[in-house]
């Protein structure tokens, strides 16, 4: 790492203070706003998750770098989707000199309450490049249907 001269932030940026305050308030009032850092350690060992609703399914994406599929468990109970597992690391030998360690290791878990219109029988999970994608189909009656109307 290089040593770089520390630059003092702009001495008087009033808006910066307001932006910070607004961020704090947003955090209090927005239950869906997660912490800014996506590391598991920073959110009490729960991975960062996206939940997307598309026309006929729900997509759950979770960042799980370095997690083996054998150490991962995805389950559904009612409308609750649970992702849990273990993130392991190769054993450190005593001779190893560690300079920096930012990645977390250990077990993690996350439970997401999905809308009740999910079809628990149609769930596909895929782990690729450290991202878990769970596709949950919507129940037939919950899908948006297009009814053509004939204009006479």
């Amino acid at each position: 790492m290089d040593v770089v001269k520390w630059e003092r932030p702009a001495p008087l940026d009033l808006w910066e203070a307001f932006d910070g305050l607004r961020g704090e308030l947003d955090r209090v009032f927005d239950p869906f706003k997660g912490p800014d850092i996506a590391g598991l350690f920073d959110r009490t060992t729960a991975p960062a998750v996206d939940v997307v609703e598309t026309e006929d399914e729900y997509l759950v994406l979770a960042d799980l770098p370095g997690v083996d599929r054998r150490d991962l468990e995805v389950s559904v109970t009612g409308s609750l989707l649970t992702i849990k597992g273990d993130k392991k690391e190769e054993r450190d030998s005593d001779k190893k000199k560690i300079f920096r360690k930012e990645a977390w290791i250990g077990s993690f878990g996350r439970t997401i309450d999905l809308p009740s219109q999910i079809d628990a029988g149609k769930i596909v999970a895929e782990l690729r490049d450290g991202v878990l994608t769970v596709k949950i189909a919507k129940r037939e009656e919950a899908r948006t249907k297009l009814i053509p109307v004939a204009v006479k």
Binding site: G34, V51, V52, T54, D63, E102, A103, G130
Partner: protein, 116 residues
């Protein structure tokens, strides 16, 4: 002057990084979930080592009920020390973790002097 939009486009995430050394090999591990081999670029220019990882696009379309994952591309730059062999960098990408193996120059390794 750059507009705020242009600035936002250039935003990137710095991946979580672990560095260790064992018997002359420096191992750098970076967590880049979502990056595949085709979206990764590791470059050594002079004594600068730069890593760039592109997120696969496009993002799923739909209504986001929860959004915590970062959407920016990954970028991280290092300055290589003189004690590192610059043209021998071994990179591998497995399960979203990039591992770089750098070698320490023979001359920079600790030398044991036998006592006679």
């Amino acid at each position: 002057m750059e507009s705020n939009i242009e600035k936002a486009r250039k935003r990137f995430t710095v991946p979580a990084c672990s560095i260790s050394e064992e018997s002359g090999v420096v191992t750098v591990r970076m967590e880049m979930p979502g990056v595949g081999k085709q979206g990764l670029e590791v470059k050594v220019e002079g004594n600068a080592l730069s890593v760039f990882g592109e997120r696969p696009g496009p993002e799923p379309r739909g209504r986001y009920l929860l959004r915590e994952r970062r959407a920016e591309n990954y970028q991280k730059n290092f300055t290589l020390d003189d004690s590192i062999v610059h043209d021998d960098v071994d990179a591998s990408l497995v399960d979203g973790i990039l591992t770089l193996k750098l070698k320490v120059k023979e001359a920079a390794k600790p030398r044991r002097i036998e006592i006679t």
